[in-house]
């Protein structure tokens, strides 16, 4: 069989080749090798040519072989046929079974559609169920996840807490208090809640550590050597640790408050302070004066305030209060200080110190409005100072008055003048006005107002008339000398010329007005007094039933005495004017040239016809009017002895005239007036520069009397002369007596 198997294999192989060649469209690829070797004689080859093969066979072989070959071939062909048959059969079978299978499949597939739908439906419902389940479980899953995370965290926290004491210790060692506090405050809530559980030891340990930290921080906070930054940090950390910082703050601020006492300007030492302040200005090397010490102290104080302000931002109010308190005490002390007599220089020195203090503090606490506060306080203090200066001035004057015997008026007034002019005029006011610290520039106007008001209050009181005159002169001095000097100094110190608050022109005007007012007031006071004398004289007697004149009436003496007093006062206080007696046009002011002529005419006429004139009264007066009217009696008062005396006399004579006009006289009454006026003529002319005007006014009195007289019969000149001589002799005697008595006493 093995031999059979081999050819069978060969056969099978050949068949397979054939089949494959049959199925393969390109034979050259499947049998590339065999085609060449068996090209013609290989019956199985594709290029086998049956004719060639026959030719070849015939040629080569004999008949036997051919026959043999024939037999062989026939057999082979037979075999091949059967094989082919077999093959076909087999394939057919397979085909049949395949057809059957397909048939079966077809029947099986039928009805699947419905099932599939059913299946889909079911799958859908399954899916929705599954979604429902999913969602319902989602939350729980989330929660579980969260819990899981928390657990992890907790584990970490636990780790952190357990490590805390060790870490804190480490921080203490490295002084990293910030980290320590951060850690501790982080752990704090946990420790607070679970401190009693397993963290107990941890908690205790960390608390101990923190206590050390707090202690360290407190010492840090209190130590002045640490930087402000560090202290501020310490304060913040302490605050974070819930340590009661407020009490600490209070303690610190109390300390600050206590230090205020040291900063106060002691009224007793103030002058020393001021002195040194002034001197240290002069020589800058002199740094050890109390002023410097004070300044350093205040600087320290304001530094401390700055520090505290940064350390405790919420303590501003308190600091404001402190700063304000300091400023207020400053000014209070200042008030105490100026209660005593203080020179303007000292006052200003202190003022400057206070102002510097305020500026220092203001830098630190601009919101505290310290400058406003101090401006207000300064205003009050200044006001007081000005008031006090005035009262001192008054005191000075009255002291001087008391010091001397009242009889020695000359000395008194001279002294008063000296005191006032030198002490006050040149020093006090000048310095007050001169002050150029910022605050003073602000308040210059006020100051001037006060000074002016002071003057007004001063002279509205009924004081010695001479004082009014002194003040008037003082105003003139201020106007003419002091203010230009101040202006000079101000321009010297403000080179930029920004001294708008100080207007010398304005001040000059103010003082000028004041001086004029004062002078006017003086004259008013004086004439008022004289008016009283005159009033009494004219009101008392019944002029219609007057008796013949026997002598010059004694009111004339009083009048002259009053005028003499004025003359004396004026002489001591006011400067002498340029000598201009007999220059009559002066009294006429700006009037026409004819008026000066008319006065001369008039006085000539006066001399000529004093006695006749009264008789031809109407004609006379009308004639006189033609010439003498328009004489300006009252010219502007000047600051000279002569001008003041003249004005006073003129006013008195005018009053005399008015009083006369209100009365009605009989002959004797008129004669009395005539006599009195005649007597007055000589002494009045002596005292007054403007003779013409006096003549005119005296004449007016006579005219007025004659107009109001029922029977004008003037005294005869000899009688007039006799009576006057008698009076002169009498007054001479009286004077002598007086002198004698004064000598003897």
């Amino acid at each position: 069989m093995a031999t059979e198997a081999a050819p069978m294999d060969e056969k099978a192989k050949r068949m397979r080749d054939l089949l494959s060649s049959f199925y393969t469209p390109d034979p050259s690829i499947s049998t590339p090798t065999s085609s060449i070797s068996t090209s013609f004689d290989n019956i199985n080859g594709p290029s086998f040519d049956a004719d060639q093969y026959m030719d070849l066979m015939i040629k080569k072989s004999n008949l036997d072989v051919l026959l043999q070959r024939h037999v062989q071939m026939a057999a082979e062909i037979k075999n091949l046929d059967t094989d082919l048959q077999m093959l076909v059969y087999e394939n057919y079978n397979k085909f049949i079974s395949a057809t059957d299978t397909i048939k079966r499949m077809k029947s099986n597939i039928f009805g699947m559609e419905g099932n599939m739908d059913q299946l889909l439906h079911k799958i859908m419902s399954v899916q929705s169920r599954s979604d429902g389940v999913n969602t319902s479980l989602f939350e729980k899953r989330e929660h579980i996840e969260k819990l899981h995370r928390t657990r992890n965290l907790l584990r970490k926290v636990q780790q952190f807490i357990y490590d805390l004491p060790a870490r804190l210790q480490k921080c203490i060692k490295s002084e990293a208090y910030g980290d320590a506090v951060r850690f501790y405050t982080g752990a704090m809530p946990i420790l607070k809640v679970y401190g009693d559980t397993s963290f107990k030891d941890c908690r205790r340990a960390s608390e101990e550590a923190i206590e050390t930290i707090i202690k360290n921080l407190q010492t840090k906070l209190f130590s002045d050597s640490e930087s402000i930054q560090a202290r501020a940090e310490a304060a913040v950390l302490l605050k974070q640790l819930d340590v009661p910082v407020d009490s600490l703050k209070d303690k610190l601020l109390e300390k600050l408050e206590q230090s205020l006492d040291g900063l106060q300007i002691n009224p007793d030492e103030a002058s020393k302070l001021a002195e040194h302040n002034v001197s240290s200005k002069d020589e800058e090397s002199n740094n050890q004066g109390p002023a410097k010490i004070h300044e350093d102290a205040v600087r320290g104080f304001s530094e401390a305030m700055r520090a505290y302000r940064e350390i405790f931002p919420d303590s501003e109010e308190r600091l404001f209060k402190l700063a304000r308190a300091l400023t207020t005490t400053h000014f209070e002390n200042m008030e105490l200080y100026i209660r005593k007599r203080v020179s303007a220089a000292d006052f200003l020195g202190i003022f400057r110190i206070i102002w510097e203090d305020v500026v220092l503090m203001d830098e630190v606490l601009p919101e505290a409005a310290l400058s406003d506060l101090s401006a207000e306080a300064a205003q009050v203090t200044l006001k007081q100072f000005v008031a006090r200066t005035f009262s001192h001035l008054q005191q000075d004057i009255s002291d001087t008055l008391l010091k001397f015997d009242i009889n020695q008026k000359e000395v008194v007034d001279g002294e008063v003048l000296k005191v006032v002019l030198e002490a006050s005029g040149k020093a006090e006011f000048r310095q007050l006005l001169d002050e150029n610290t910022g605050i003073f520039v602000k308040m210059n106007d006020l100051l001037i107002g006060w000074i002016q008001k002071g003057f007004q209050d001063f002279f509205s009181e009924k004081i010695h008339a001479g004082l009014i005159l002194v003040l008037a002169q003082l105003s003139v001095v201020i106007e003419q000398k002091v203010i230009p000097r101040i202006a000079e100094e101000i321009t010297a110190s403000f080179s930029g010329g920004n001294s708008q608050a100080f207007i010398p022109g304005e001040l000059c005007r103010v003082f000028h007005a004041a001086s004029e007012k004062l002078l006017q007031h003086y004259i008013d006071t004086r004439t008022q007094k004289i008016s009283n004398v005159l009033r009494k004289r004219f009101k008392t007697p019944n002029w219609v039933k007057h008796k013949e004149p026997r002598e010059v009436h004694m009111y004339v003496d009083m009048l002259l005495q009053q005028l003499e007093e004025v003359g004396k006062e004026v002489k001591q206080i006011l400067p002498q004017g340029t000598f201009r007696k007999h220059k009559r046009s002066d009294s006429n002011g700006s009037n026409t040239t004819t008026s000066s002529r008319s006065t001369t005419l008039h006085s000539d006429k006066m001399a000529r016809s004093n006695s006749q004139r009264a008789r031809s009264q109407l004609f006379e007066t009308h004639l006189a009017k033609l010439f003498k009217q328009k004489v300006e009696i009252f010219t502007k008062v000047e600051f000279t002895q002569e001008s003041v005396v003249t004005t006073t006399v003129k006013l008195c004579l005018k009053s005399l005239q008015e009083y006369v006009r209100l009365q009605t006289f009989n002959r004797s009454g008129f004669q009395q007036i005539q006599l009195d006026i005649q007597f007055l003529k000589a002494p009045l002319k002596e005292t007054v520069e403007d003779e013409a005007a006096i003549d005119f006014l005296l004449d007016e009195v006579i005219v007025a009397a004659s107009e109001r007289c029922l029977d004008v019969t003037p005294l005869e000149p000899p009688i007039l002369d006799k009576l006057i001589q008698a009076k002169l002799a009498k007054s001479k005697e009286h004077n002598n007596n007086n002198n004698k008595t004064t000598v003897s006493s």
């Binding site: 009033r535 009017k625 008015e658 109001r708």
Partner: protein, 323 residues
């Protein structure tokens, strides 16, 4: 503005002290003035400002038996006025009626309505309207008279004495209160309530010459004084003056508030005249000015009278816009 060339002048024959606005004359701006002559026959002049305001016309000239120290026109009857006169030895007062004028100017006689038989210094009419009462003052007393023009009589209703030392010299009747009168005395201005005839108030102020109530503002009083100028007072606070105005170089004799323009005060004095609040000074006078009156009809016009008998009418109109 110096010099008064703007003023309208009128010359009286003799010296004079008093001039009064004829308030009751609503047709013309008129003034009454009387002379002060010791020996000659005194005259009362009725002056009228011409309608153009350029001339002062004498509407009537009447002889008066004595020299006239004070004159006041009746505020409700233009023909009635009062005078205070001196007989040389004593003072008296009378109410006069101007006779009907028929164009003739030959010094007709004045009709004497009543004599106020007392030693009178000053006679006051109530300035604000019809009031048949009069006040007269002498040195020590103040009298309230009831005037009956029809039967030519006046009788004293009540009287009170100010005391020997006060020597009343003049006064003013409050235009706001018919019962209040101010009187100037030696050392004070005294205020009287006419109902009780008692002194109710006083301002201690010596030598007040002139006094006037502000007709526009109640409680405001103005005084003129010898030496110390003009003061404005609020009577509710009579301790100190409200305002102090510069007076004349010499005495300020009289002061009058303008009847229409509040704050316009006119003082006159023995040196110069001026209108406050220093609007202008009028200096065109040759003697002391004692008489002064604002016109109530044309309130910007005033008349002033200097001692030499010169009446000057001036208008302050050019200065009014400045008020």
């Amino acid at each position: 503005m110096q010099g008064g060339s703007s003023g309208i002048g009128y010359g009286l024959k003799y010296q004079a002290r008093c001039i009064s606005d004829v308030k009751a004359d609503t047709d013309y701006t008129s003034f009454l003035t009387g002379t002060l002559s010791l020996k000659e026959e005194n005259e009362v002049h009725l002056l009228r400002l011409s309608s153009g305001g350029s001339e002062l016309i004498c509407e009537g000239l009447f002889s008066h038996p004595n020299e006239i120290w004070d004159l006041a026109s009746c505020p409700f009857d233009q023909r009635i006025f009062s005078t205070v006169f001196s007989t040389g030895e004593s003072f008296g007062a009378a109410i006069w009626q101007i006779p009907e004028l028929y164009g003739q100017l030959n010094s007709p006689q004045l009709e004497r309505v009543a004599s106020l038989d007392a030693h009178v210094d000053s006679v006051l009419w109530w300035p604000s309207g019809r009031c048949d009462k009069l006040i007269s003052m002498d040195e020590q007393n103040i009298f309230l008279w009831s005037l009956a023009c029809s039967n030519k009589s006046a009788e004293v209703l009540s009287k009170d004495s100010a005391g020997m030392l006060h020597s009343l010299s003049g006064g003013a009747w409050d235009p706001h209160d018919v019962n209040a009168v101010a009187a100037t005395g030696e050392s004070s201005v005294q205020f009287w309530d006419l109902r009780t005839m008692k002194k109710v108030n006083s301002i201690e102020r010596a030598h007040v010459r002139g006094v006037d109530y502000n007709p526009k503002r109640e409680h405001i009083l103005i005084t003129a004084e010898d030496e110390s100028g003009i003061h404005v007072w609020d009577l509710r606070k009579a301790k100190a003056p409200v305002q102090e105005l510069p007076g004349h170089t010499h005495w300020t004799w009289a002061v009058k508030c303008n009847p229409e323009y509040d704050g316009l005060i006119l003082p006159v004095g023995s040196t110069r005249q001026r209108v406050n609040l220093l609007l202008n000074s009028y200096t065109d006078y040759e003697d002391s000015v004692y008489g002064l009156a604002w016109s109530s009809r044309e309130p910007w016009v005033f008349a002033s009278l200097s001692y030499d008998g010169r009446v000057v009418i001036e208008s302050v109109k050019p200065f009014l816009p400045r008020l």
